[in-house]
């Protein structure tokens, strides 16, 4: 019997010979106990494969260290060039099925303009909160509906948004935040998305509600902050900075920075204020006419059906950021240079942008920000994302010590459009995912790869849902792997 158990392990390890397999068949046919062991062993194996080791690992072994600044000391003899490389190659099966493409999702749209934050440490901060929040998720919200526009250009929804300024110039736009809040913005409105659960209203008219999970959305404005504690409310800010808040349901706290006051507003309360402080609170019976309204109108890319492979329109965003720099006694001769062949793919490409800071008293930094967006068939949503290098050139001799630091991160986002066959809950017990040929598969998501002799860890996480498109965040503690392969596909409807 002991031999038979051994054969089961060999089968599980796929090291069993043909002869041994015959022996195992005989033994399994004869012994119910052995069959039970066989089944239980496979279940244990499956549990080990599927268990969320990243979560379980917190209590089982020392916590992995993600992110953080990698600081290395370099001598002058390095020779004048240091490089931090970010290389992400997404290769897909050679299925270049030609399909009719809808127009590329790109801004500005007819009724809104979105300007993402330019880079992680750009000087053009639009709010004091931005720097603090920038370190967080690359995608904070999605536009899930637009309306009130004549024959405006179609957009594939949901349309993902990072942190940045959203100007609604015509009609209205509904933004669903990653943490449940649904915010309707009525033109003309200038609004800043600052996190997955907060925004900044500069001017205009917004209505905050939630998608049923309870939003707890914070709305900042020049004079204060409105804290939603489970409700829906509307806010309007005029050109003269007068503002009004009306609570439709539940409770809202309004922190007034001008007078350092706090007002708790309940259903039916209307607060009207000026920039110098609070003016009045009154309870009214009917919803004021200025509160944003409108029926949702979704424009989603269609799903083609018919014979042969299922053609599903999908929108893919690829986005990467990398930073690196030097710090030394004198940076007078340092030049930072970014080269990239990133974002070659079958769709249109947003050009790479990068910024550069050189300051004698600060570490020199260079950031790059690359973004690709393309619409294509699931079979081949994008082709190839190449390599990007951050190169630091030393034109003159610099003083010791030289500190070099670098980091990088990249994200792949795939919006599966109208398909809603899966739900966010899919990944609650399987936060990591991998793709197989024809269908989303659930598997282990941590990934180790040797990069230039150093082991770097890459964590792949996924989120998915009707209003939460599939999102991967690849976060590397050192450098991204030289290549990653994904192939996408879906079950037929």
């Amino acid at each position: 019997m002991k031999e038979s158990y051994e054969l089961i392990w060999k089968l599980i390890d796929r090291s069993i010979t043909g002869e041994e397999f015959e022996q195992l068949q005989e033994a399994l046919s004869e012994s119910a106990e052995l069959r039970r062991f066989y089944q239980e062993s496979l279940e244990t194996e499956e549990s080990l494969r599927g268990i969320d080791l990243n979560l379980a690992g917190d209590s089982l072994m020392e916590k992995r260290r993600w992110g953080g600044w990698k600081v290395a000391k370099w001598g002058i003899g390095v020779g004048g060039a240091l490089a931090a490389c970010l290389a992400v190659i997404f290769s897909l099966p050679d299925e270049s099925t030609e399909i009719d493409r809808p127009s590329l999702v790109k801004d500005p749209q007819r009724n809104f303009q979105f300007t993402p934050w330019d880079s992680g440490r750009d000087e053009k901060e639009t709010s004091a909160l931005a720097a603090e929040i920038r370190e967080r998720a690359l995608w904070a919200a999605s536009i899930t509906a637009v309306g009130g526009v004549g024959d405006g250009s179609k957009i594939a929804l949901p349309y993902a948004l990072t942190g940045g300024i959203l100007k609604v110039t015509e009609g209205w736009v509904e933004v669903t935040f990653e943490e449940s809040a649904v915010v309707r913005l009525e033109a003309p409105t200038t609004f800043e998305i600052i996190s997955a659960s907060s925004g900044y209203l500069y001017r205009g008219n917004v209505l905050v509600s939630d998608d049923g999970d309870g939003a707890l959305f914070d709305l900042f404005y020049d004079q204060g902050r409105v804290v939603d504690i489970g409700t829906s409310y509307a806010m309007q800010i005029d050109e003269d900075e007068g503002y009004r808040i009306f609570v439709m349901e539940g409770t809202v706290d309004n922190y007034n920075g001008a007078i350092l006051g706090l007002d708790r507003l309940k259903e039916g309360d209307l607060l009207a204020g000026k920039n110098a402080g609070r003016v009045s609170i009154e309870r009214i019976a009917e919803t004021p006419s200025w509160v944003a309204k409108g029926g949702a109108r979704r424009e989603l890319p269609g799903v083609e059906t018919g014979d042969g492979p299922l053609k599903i329109q999908t929108t893919t965003w690829l986005r990467g950021r990398a930073g690196g720099g030097v710090a030394s006694g004198s940076l007078a001769g340092v030049r930072l240079r970014v080269t990239s062949d990133a974002c070659h793919n079958s769709g249109e490409v947003h050009p790479m942008r990068w910024t550069q800071h050189l300051n004698e008293f600060q570490p020199a930094e260079v950031w790059y920000h690359a973004e690709c967006a393309a619409i294509g068939a699931v079979a081949n949503p994008f082709g190839h994302l190449g390599a990007t290098s951050v190169v630091v050139d030393f034109q003159d001799e610099v003083e010791n010590p030289i500190l070099f630091f670098g980091w990088g991160e990249a994200s792949l986002k795939v919006d599966l459009g109208a398909l809603k066959i899966l739900d966010h809950s899919f990944f609650r017990s399987h936060p990591s995912i991998q793709f197989k040929d024809k269908m989303i598969d659930f598997g282990r998501g941590s990934h180790r790869q040797n990069i230039e002799g150093q082991v770097a860890s890459v964590k792949i996480t996924g989120k998915f849902g009707p209003t939460r498109p599939l999102v991967f965040d690849l976060v590397s503690s050192n450098s991204l792997p030289s290549s990653l392969s994904f192939s996408l596909g879906l079950v037929e409807q």
Binding site: Q25, Y38, E40, E46, L60, E492
Partner: protein, 172 residues
């Protein structure tokens, strides 16, 4: 099927993936094609979702679909090296996993991992956390593949025994 039912169905599929895979691995003799058959089964499960009665156990229904998909797979790839004989296949297919095969087993596994020696635990976590084959892990660790295989096997037997003890104790 309305939205709520779809949502419930999606939850059922999601929660059943490990059990469905274990079931398929069992009748397919742990074939490397197990994942492919699971995907095919998932497709059929989804297409036939209207046939599922929420009042009946989802897994029992899903296992049946898995079984037929496995049979279809074996028919299509007759050259697969390791395929169970028909009689044994029928027996294995009929013996469904126990009710505690899902969440309770995973909970027990976490508890049992904590009872392992630290270096054994690290080895298991590293091996399963990476996508590497056993041979690749061995190269990473600089040990012969056979040594690693034996060590992992011992640890897995310990885990298996521990899980069974835990589940038995919990069911009392």
């Amino acid at each position: 099927m309305d939205k709520d039912l779809d949502s419930a169905f999606v939850n059922e599929i999601a929660q059943s993936q490990p059990m469905m895979r274990a079931y398929l691995a069992k009748i397919l003799a742990n074939s490397s094609s197990t994942d492919d058959v699971l995907q095919e089964s998932n497709k059929v499960v989804w297409v036939k979702r209207a046939d599922w009665d929420p009042e009946t156990p989802f897994l029992k229904w899903a296992y049946r679909i898995c079984y037929f998909q496995a049979k279809a797979f074996m028919r299509d790839v007759g050259r697969e090296r390791l395929v169970f004989r028909e009689e044994l296949l029928e027996i294995l297919a009929e013996e469904h996993p126990r009710d505690d095969a899902g969440g309770p087993r995973e909970q027990a596994l976490i508890g049992c991992l904590q009872k392992l020696r630290q270096k054994d635990r690290k080895l298991v976590l590293c091996h399963y956390d990476s996508k590497e084959s056993l041979g690749e892990t061995a190269v990473d660790l600089g040990v012969p593949a056979n040594t690693l295989s034996q060590r992992l096997r011992r640890i897995r037997i310990q885990l298996h025994d521990c899980i069974q003890r835990t589940l038995t104790a919990n069911s009392l």
